[in-house]
Structures are given as structure tokens and as C-alpha cells.
Symmetry: C2
Subunit: 205 residues, 2 copies
Amino acid sequence: MRDTKPLAPVHTAVALFTIQGTLKLLLLPGEPWRLPGARLKEGESLDACAQRALGEATGVGDVFLEQLYTFTASDRAPGVVVSYYALIPYDRVQICAGSGEWVDPAHWPPTAPGLRQIIDCAAERLVAKLEYAPIAYQFLADRFTLGELQSVYEVIGRRSLDKRNFRRRLRASQHLLETHDTRRGARHRPARLYRLRETEPSIRG
Amino acid sequence: MRDTKPLAPVHTAVALFTIQGTLKLLLLPGEPWRLPGARLKEGESLDACAQRALGEATGVGDVFLEQLYTFTASDRAPGVVVSYYALIPYDRVQICAGSGEWVDPAHWPPTAPGLRQIIDCAAERLVAKLEYAPIAYQFLADRFTLGELQSVYEVIGRRSLDKRNFRRRLRASQHLLETHDTRRGARHRPARLYRLRETEPSIRG
DNA sequence: ACAAAAGTGTTCCTGTTACACCCATGT
DNA sequence: ACATGGGTGTAACAGGAACACTTTTGT
């Protein structure tokens, strides 16, 4: 309270991912390209601020979101940036259409300095977390086939998986809830549809 | 830039751990008990701010430190708290003597709200990270015996380990550098001393 | 009929666990 | 001499990886 100078702006920045054939990241047009972001309002929680940033930039709401890391704002800009990553199912992607561009996070266009570390950090976390947390489901619609789920793992992990081992492992994970419906219409055998078994998310904040 | 109101104080808070028989956390006396912390200065990096917080509170410097999570400051206090955990070897503990109290992080005295989540988060991370990152060494002196190292794992993991399996596993990890010295003086066979093999730390910020 | 993804078990291999005794020292 | 932690190998077990064929549909 003895000094008012070190008051600094707090921003959130959100790396929004989806899967469209391959893993894609949303960048907002501009010079340079940006991530969705917002300045923290008084009385607002960081999570809420990140959700708001996403909503303002793309119109989507109620998105899976997780805090990544907090950086000191790049260059000599004062303040800090609390980075998040967010995942959105492929069937909600169109909502973001027009608000930005979906790019491959590995080779993206020139962006502001400081974005690179956020994006790398996010991609890294995504790969790591895939193996021990049920986040793959966040890329899928409410009901999905095991083939779709496997494809998510393959795309993010950048390697192909054995179908039988995959199914055994996933069934053992207890996250799957089998429905009695199937998806038909493709020119092959219909695929059983599954749901994510709802469970209490572990608390962090 | 259109609004100056949402400028908010940014603080760091550091949960400093050591091992003294059991895992111990440093709390600073007061009503309520606090963690070492500091307000972010202009132009200062978050890591530097956390190091400074630790230095000002205890006098120690050059400590292993890692960012944990960023919380919105508890209650209705504005601003954010970037939490860190830090590890200090047992042979440097005395430096902190007088500046605070070493308590068991599981059942500690009443503290300010908001501390609990930081401490829990830190303890959780510590246990998890022990299994895949060479952080146990941070609790030990420059040179150490395998017995000491095993004891660190046992204390943090809260379970006893098999001596032979432990040694096999650790030797395979490539983190150990055998010295030609032994530690003697105890009334048993002298123990070989090891060093941590220096390696490039992976970058995060 | 054919193309295309769904679905299903078994074998092998590798890495993890369990376990008991002798050694070198200080007192 | 004895108490104390240091030091060493092997056998059982479990979890992960490799692998091929039949089924059901749409065209």
C-alpha cells in the first residue's frame, strides 16, 4: 500500500485448439496475429476472464479451459499474461468462423513475440495430459465412436495406434459409457456410439 | 489503454519446502501465518520476484524455484497471486532460522485463506514431479549417498521403497554421477557419494 | 462384388516387484 | 562382539506391444 506504481495490467491469453483433420489453433487476424485475450476486470476471476476473452473473440461459450502458465508481458510492456489453453469440439468450430483463422500450431504465421512460448507450452501440455487425463473427449461431440476417439489420440500424439490395444485400454479407463445407438450412413459397418462418463472434475482453484 | 481502473497488484507467493526428518514447509509468523511473498516491481520478471521474496524473508538466494499456478487474490482483494514452490537442501536450512517456522504441510496452523490451495497445489505437484523429474536432488547437499536420496523419495512419497529396486532404477536414470569418495564416520560401512549429473534444464519461460 | 471402417483374442516381451544375505565400520 | 546401515542378484508377475481375420454396411 506504500506504492501505487507497481500496479500492473493483468491479461489472459487463450490458445484455442480444435481438430480438423489435424490439430488446429485459432489465431486472430491483425498485424501481428494474436490470441484471444482480455484484461482482468476488478472482481473477476481469472478463469472467467479467459472465458470472456474467448466469448468476445469468437462467440463461443462454456468451453473446456485450463490455466497454463503466467508470463511477464513480453518486451518492456508492464504487467503479466496468464495463459490458458482451451479445447473445442469439431461440431462447434463453425461458430468461430470469420473471427479468425485455424492454423497448424507447429508452423504458424508470424506472431507477436511471447505468443510462441504460450503456444509451445500449450501444445506440450496437451500431448502430456492426453495420456493421463480425459481431455480427448473435449474435441468430440456429445456422442462419438471409438474410431473418432482413436483418431484424436493419433492426431495429437502424432503416431498411429493399434486398434485393439486402444480399445482395450480405453474401456479399462472407465471413462466410457456405452450407448445403445450406432452411427450409420457411411459405407461400412455402423459404429457403436459412446458417451463420456460424467465425473467430478478435480478442483484446482 | 482506455481504462486505468483494472490495473491490479501482482504478487508472488512462495511455498518453501525442505526435508527435516519429514517434509517441512516454511511459514512466516504473524496473524495469520504467511508465505514469503513480494509485489512485482516494474520491469521485474516473475521468477526474479519470487526469488526476491524468498531472499527478503529468509536470506537465502539461488534456490530451486518453479511456478505453480496463478490465483485471483482471495476474498475481495483485487489483483492476482502467482504461486511458486521452492526446494532447499537440508544443509542450508539453518539460514532461514529465526525468519519463520518449519511446519508439516499436512497439518499446519491457521493461515490466511488462499494459502491452503497454494500449499496443497505445491505438495501435489511435488509428489507428482518426483516420479519423472530430477527434483529430489534439490533437497540434498552437493554430494549425497544413495541412502539419503532414497530417504527423500520415501518421505515425499509417504511409503518405503525397496533398496535394491531403488538403486537399480536410479542408476538407470542417468542422473547420477558416481564419485570416488565415501562418507565415513557413522558406525557402519562407509557409503559411496554421488553427484547430480549436470544437464540442461528444459526451458519454460 | 467390392471397398471401407467396425469389431474381436492371444502371444510375446519388457519392465516392475518381491525377496535375503554378506560387508565394513564405530563403539 | 555387536549393532547399524551399505551393498548386491534372481525369480515371479503384470502391463504393454505386436499381430490377422470376420462383420456389416453403402455404392
